[in-house]
Structure formats: structure tokens, C-alpha cells
Symmetry: C2
Subunit: 501 residues, 2 copies
Amino acid sequence: MLNRVRSAVAHLVSSGGAPPPRPKSPDLPNAPSAQSAAPPGAPRSPPARAGSGSAAPAKTVEARASFSRPTFLQLSPGGLRRADDHAGRAVQSPPDTGRRLPWSTGYAEVINAGKSRHNEDQACCEVVYVEGRRSVSGAPREPSGGQGLCFYYWGLFDGHAGGGAAEMASKLLHRHIQEQLKDLVEILQDASPPPLCLPSTPGAPGSSDSSHLVGPQSCWSSQKEVTHESLVVGAIENAFQFMDEQMAQERRGHQAEGGCCALVVVYLLGKVYVANAGDSRAIIVRNGEIIPMSQEFTPETERQRLQLLGFLKPELLGGEFTHLEFPRRIQPKELGQRMLYRDQNMTGWAYKKIELEDLRFPLVCGEGKKARVMATIGVTRGLGDHNLKVCSSTLPIKPFLSCFPEVRVYDLTQYEHCPDDVLVLGTDGLWDVTSDCEVAATVDRVLSAYEPNDPSRSQKFGQATSLSLSILTSKRRWTCLTQRSMMRNQRAELCSEQVTN
Amino acid sequence: MLNRVRSAVAHLVSSGGAPPPRPKSPDLPNAPSAQSAAPPGAPRSPPARAGSGSAAPAKTVEARASFSRPTFLQLSPGGLRRADDHAGRAVQSPPDTGRRLPWSTGYAEVINAGKSRHNEDQACCEVVYVEGRRSVSGAPREPSGGQGLCFYYWGLFDGHAGGGAAEMASKLLHRHIQEQLKDLVEILQDASPPPLCLPSTPGAPGSSDSSHLVGPQSCWSSQKEVTHESLVVGAIENAFQFMDEQMAQERRGHQAEGGCCALVVVYLLGKVYVANAGDSRAIIVRNGEIIPMSQEFTPETERQRLQLLGFLKPELLGGEFTHLEFPRRIQPKELGQRMLYRDQNMTGWAYKKIELEDLRFPLVCGEGKKARVMATIGVTRGLGDHNLKVCSSTLPIKPFLSCFPEVRVYDLTQYEHCPDDVLVLGTDGLWDVTSDCEVAATVDRVLSAYEPNDPSRSQKFGQATSLSLSILTSKRRWTCLTQRSMMRNQRAELCSEQVTN
């Protein structure tokens, strides 16, 4: 499967970001999958320190170090230099001229102030066509081209410890989603419930009816009803996993150094799917009301999952960490005293007698923006980080990180929308300095000052078009953001003020 | 610690359920704990089949089989026989005469229709006094008796596969909570933040200030703030764990056969703590508004936790089960075809090629009331079940069950309450046939027809008294419940109609 994605991506990169033309013939269903190509026990490439760059050939590193920004920004070489300027910190947005992003999408970014050499964040906005791989009955599909699916896609990738993972995700994740959806093209367009079982080979008989139910156990007395929506959710979840596996395989050859949070939106058949793995955030502002479309995954919000893993697999702690949480570091001289603690089952605190192993560093420590897993990373879901090790140790952190997103679904057909309703995606740098309510107030203030959106948009997408999308990226060091507007391609302007810490 | 609880319980049982007198001297802090008394690897008693009764001496079994009901029902031998009558199915409530339950507590129960020989549910309602074990400074407390704490306690225990666990929990769980709170008596009554560290022995110097902070790591730059509330939550969580461990230790000697869901309420220092482990439910009805105070823990709601455990510890599946979920049973002839599945990371569904191990029985299967773990049990949290095995197998199910409750806190001082506001606790049998809204409507209809509660109640407990509590138990086979009222000791009546399935 990865091979298929690779060829699609090769085309994508060479064509400057435009969707590839529809393939002339269906993909081969027997192409090797990522899992079969790389068994779990395969040897790993030599570990690299977090943030220490890469062990890859210098030429490739240099090419990476030349700093790339999202294609839709259409930056000239001079613009790229300005975008890389830590002193000027110019706000980057797509030009008013040139190809418009779909759904009146606005975008603004600014380089972080000194946190990393380059802006390690990336973004993507695409319209992706999915041609079915085969019909439900198993017969190969005719290359008619008339029965495929289109999805709209927006992605925000907050990179860390290198920009490779975010760049790779911005180029490839939507291709993995496309790949996962290929089997579903016909199923999603059929009003009847999805078949539970599909034939293995084209032309073979399927068993999608309920006549094969096995009986006596009461809990198997009926089959589960699976919705079309849950198939799309599963496709997105698996696409995240394949993306992460691809990064693991190609971390040497393709410089997928570092890791990234991933927040993506898929609009398909009337529904908006918001998938989040990391600490970025999405909200919908509908008639001034805020609808949260994601939750943040941090050492604090995922404490119990992390502690459970450390408890069940103590070898992952390497004798250096304890899965217990303490409210502060324990001193050796406090041995035998009783300290407050929490384990993987507790939300409250209790006292325990301090024993020798409690002097180990806690797996999860710190609060708020300073919360860390293994004293290293402040976010617990995302893509990449396969080489991330505990500082001054060879202990890998990746086993504690999850690449799986939480997916929330918003049915556009169920609500009335006005032209000023927006979906806002932002990395943690934005939300650290701006609340949901402040964003909603800005939406109201800015959009009400301008004419409603281009009416041709609503002709195209019906009710769905009344929901605009704005992507805002920023970094933690961007400590104060004054948003005079959010949507540059709606002739608004975004200005920023940098405040000295 | 268990020894202390045992002696308290011995007193409790002999005194017919009244709280024991305050101890004359503080408990010994060095009494052996449950954990040290029973290491995890200790040999288990011979397994007993779920629902097959017990392997204990016949005499003890017979004593159990004589069927006991909550003490506060004050049942005569004749009343006990009627309560055990599957044909009559009389509704049992405390008598109008005799000791009133605190807070105008109402209670009603009825035996299930044929599901088990006896009613395996139990309930408890107590006022518990907690004397501190020692002062924060470590000095032994004087037996002054004037600085203790009182908590109000209600417990609902939905038993299964035998009534022993529910009976034991109804007799002991509040004693475990009392035990856990002993260290906190002084701390909870002190407005300053709880000390993070306590001395190990009376008189030894503590280290409860922040001068011992260890420095350079940024995530340790400050100590966590721990609230009084979170200490009470931790005490309740640990009490559940100790209760479960005690059942494990005494399952042969004391016939703690079977298991039980536990839903308990603790009122302490102005706050209501609702702790739930199982599929019972608590709601507050406040001025007609419904405030959920618990969530249900079932194979469906805990699917991902169960699957993760099966994935990380495949030996727990014994080669008989797969951690993957399928929407129906797979037939051997479908090998090689592609079936919908979900793993521990997914909320959506995707297709996978059916392999040999997918023919194993799924760890989690079924829907709604028919959902089961290992094709056996329909609830995933609770107390006991230490002998529960997979049907026709020696595979233990207990590792997949959690004894830890979710604890929700309701601050009574933050809200205005009217006399008709109630907290309703019910087992799944009630909620299977009655919605939250129907209960709220019944509360309104019944209470408005009677005079407000006894004013002496509000004199005693101030604002807190305006929140009454009603405990309702029923069982799954009670398929239709017509509630003409809910509170018998408020001179209302509860009637039931049994509907033929």
C-alpha cells in the first residue's frame, strides 16, 4: 500500500501540489502493505538525539535545511527568506492573486521567535479525488471515472525536534487517507448498510449478508450495525497509522526527522471529520456559538494511559522512571516518609510510604505547558518521533506516544449556517495566547466588516459552503497575538505584535 | 490495615448495623497492610464457576442461602420470606416506624423474577465517625474525640454470580473509607493546602514545605497543588481497592462468592462524592434539571481499555480469544476474505483480511445488554469476581475487571436547592426500564403531592438537607416498572407490574 502512496506522492511533488490526474486503471489490490514490508521486529536505524538533526547524507540534510513552506503560500525565493527571518517575523498568508484555496480558506503563519532554526510547522489544503479500487461484488472497476469520490482536506502539522515529520505528513497524509478510502467508494455511495465482509479476490463470492451468523452464544445473537460514518473514521485512523509506519521506515532515507502533531479536517459526503493527534485545536464558530471539535493530548490529559502502559510494561521505563506520579521531586533523605502519589487508576491523591524505587524520575511530571513524558516531550500523540530518546539515555519514548487521532464528526446537513460561520484550526501557540471566545469575537468583528463570501461558492457546495475554514498556525514563543482579522483572502489583514518575555 | 477493618466490622455485625463506638485509642499505624499480607503471586483457591455457587463448606453455604437483606429494612422472619418470594415479588421498603434513615432517605427493592435464587443486591446507609489517627506533625492524637469527622454514606451493591460480594461490600466498604480518611482528619479541617509529605513515624520531622524542591529540570520547577477534595477522592479510590483485595483474601473463608457493582455516595464537609464501579447510575434532580453523577462501565464503554490490555498482555487471552472486535462471528470458511474490525486504538471500523487467529472468540462481543467480556460478564468494573472463569475454561476474567470507581464531586454549597431536589441511585434494572427524565417527572409528581420534608432535617444540616436521597434497586428481569412514587418513608408508595417477555 505504501508503494502506491509513494508513487502518488512523487507525482504530487513534481506537479507542485495539484491533485494528480485520475489513474487510468485501478490499483493492484495485492500490492505489498506497509505492515508486510516492515515486520515489527525489523532492526531500527541508529538512534538520533531529539533535536540533534539527522544522521543522513549531508546533501539531503542541506536540501531540508533550505526550509520549505506550504506550496499554497506561493513564496518566491525572497519571500521564503523573509518567512525564515527570526528578526522580522513577517506574517505569511496566501497571495490575493493566484489560485484560491477552496471554501474561502484563510491561512496565516509566522516563524517562532528563536525556538528552532526554521519554522517546523507545515500545512496542507487539497481537494482529493478517490477512485474506487473495485466494486463491492469484487469485480474490478471499469475506468469509467464517474463514480469516484471527492474529499476536501485541510491539515495542520506542528513540528518538533526537526521539520521532516511535519513536511512528510503535509505531503502524504491525505494520500494515505485517499488510499484507505479506495475500498469504500462504492459502499459510501450506497444507502444500504455497509457489508460486514468483502470477498478476498475480484469475482469471488462475498458474504455480506447475515445468513452466516453463528448462534448459540447470546452475545452473538445479532450482528453489529456499522455506519458509513464509522468507516470513514476508521479510514482516517488507519491512514494516521500508515503515515506513522512510513515515517518509521523512511526515517533514514527520507529524513523524516523529528515528530509533529497532526490536526486534519476531511469533508466528505456532507460531513466534516476532524481528526486530532496532539495539542492543536479545532473549533467551529456557528452564529457566535463555539463548538469544540478536538481535545488536546498532553502528558496531563493522557496521564492514566501513560501510567498504565508503564505499569503493564515496566521494561519500557528502563529502571530510570517510575510510573507513579508525585506532586514534586522526592529527596533521598525523605525515604520512609509518606508522600502524596497517584497511580494509573487514581484521579485523586493519597499518601504512600516512600520506597527506593519512588526516587526514580516519574514517567509523567510537571504541569501545564511544562508537563513532560520522561522529562522530554510535552505532547503525547502525533506522527514520527521514532528516534526520540530520553535525554542522556538510549531509552526510546516512542512506545508511550500514540499516532492515533481522536476523530469528531460534524454533520453539515443538520445545521443552519450563516456566511460568517467558520472552522478554526490552530496549533498550541495560538491557543496559548488566545481563548476560544476571543477567536469567536474576532470572527464576528472581522467578518461583519466585509461582504459575504463569493456566492459562486454556495452554488457549488450548497449548505456546506456557509462554513468557512481558517487555519492559523503559530508557535509557543509567539506570546501575544493581536488579531485584527483572520482571513487574508477575504481581504482582511492579520497583524501580530511580539511581546518581550 | 485490613485487620483494623475486620475488627470494626466484627463489631458492626454484632451490633446490628449501628456505627461502632469511637475507639478509645488510636489505631496502630504499623498494622500489616492488605498488600503485604497477600502478594500478587499468592496461590489462588480452587476456581468456582460463575453462578454455580461456592465450593465452601455446606454449612456456611446454607447460612448464606438463608438470604439476608439490608438491616435498615428491619425485616421480621416472615418479612424476609416475603422478600424472598419470587411469585409475590413484594416491594420492600423501610418501615414508617422505627429509626429514620438520614436525609429523608427512601429505599425500595424487589426481588428479580427468577434470575437468581435470592436477591443478590444489597444496600447500606450509615453515618460514620472518623477519628484521626495522628496529627499532621506526627504526634499521636489525644483521644479527645472532639476533632473527628463525620461522613454520611449510602451504598448500592448490585450482586451477580452469588450474593457474597455484595453483602461483604455493604458491610465493609464504608469501614475501608473510614480507615482511609483517618490520616486526613486534621488535614481536611485545615484551610491551608495539604502537606505533600508526612513524617513516617509519630514525632519525626515532616517535609511538608516547598524548600526541598529539586531544581534544574524545567518540568519540576514547581510543585503540584493538591486539593482537599482530591484527597477524599483518593481515599475513596483506595478504599475500593482494599475492599477488593480483602474479598480476594477471604473468598474461601468468608464466602465472598460472586461479584458486585458498587455505587456509593459520601457526603463530607459540604461536598457529595459519588463513586461508581459498574453499571448502576446516580443522578441529581435539581429543580427538575437532571445532573448525571456517574457513567456506566460496560464491555461497550470500556472496549478500548479491555482491548488494550488484551493486546499488551496476550497471555491473558489464553489463546482462546482475540483482542480484535468484529461485528459478527467469523466462519472458518471466510478465511482470507476481508471483514470489518476494530482494534484498541480505533473508534471507527475498517476491513482486514481474515487470518486464522481472527477465528478466535473476540474478547469483547455483543451489543447493549448482551455485550460481554470473554462471553461471560456484562459489567467491567466492580468488586469481587476473583473466582470468575470463562465458561468451560480455567481462564480467569478478573484481570480485565477494574475495582476502581469513577468519582464525581458535587459541591452542595455552590447551588440553591429546594426541598424536592433528590439524588437518585439505581441499579441497571431500574434504568433499563426508566429514563432519567421519567425519574425526574416522578420526583416532581410525587413530592409535590406531599408536605415538604421534616423541618428538623434542615435545622441539622443547613443547605445540604435540601438534597434528599432515594435508593432504588431492581434487577434486569424486572422488565417494566410503573412508579407511582419513589419514597416510601415520605408516605408514598411504589408499585410494580411485571410484564411477560
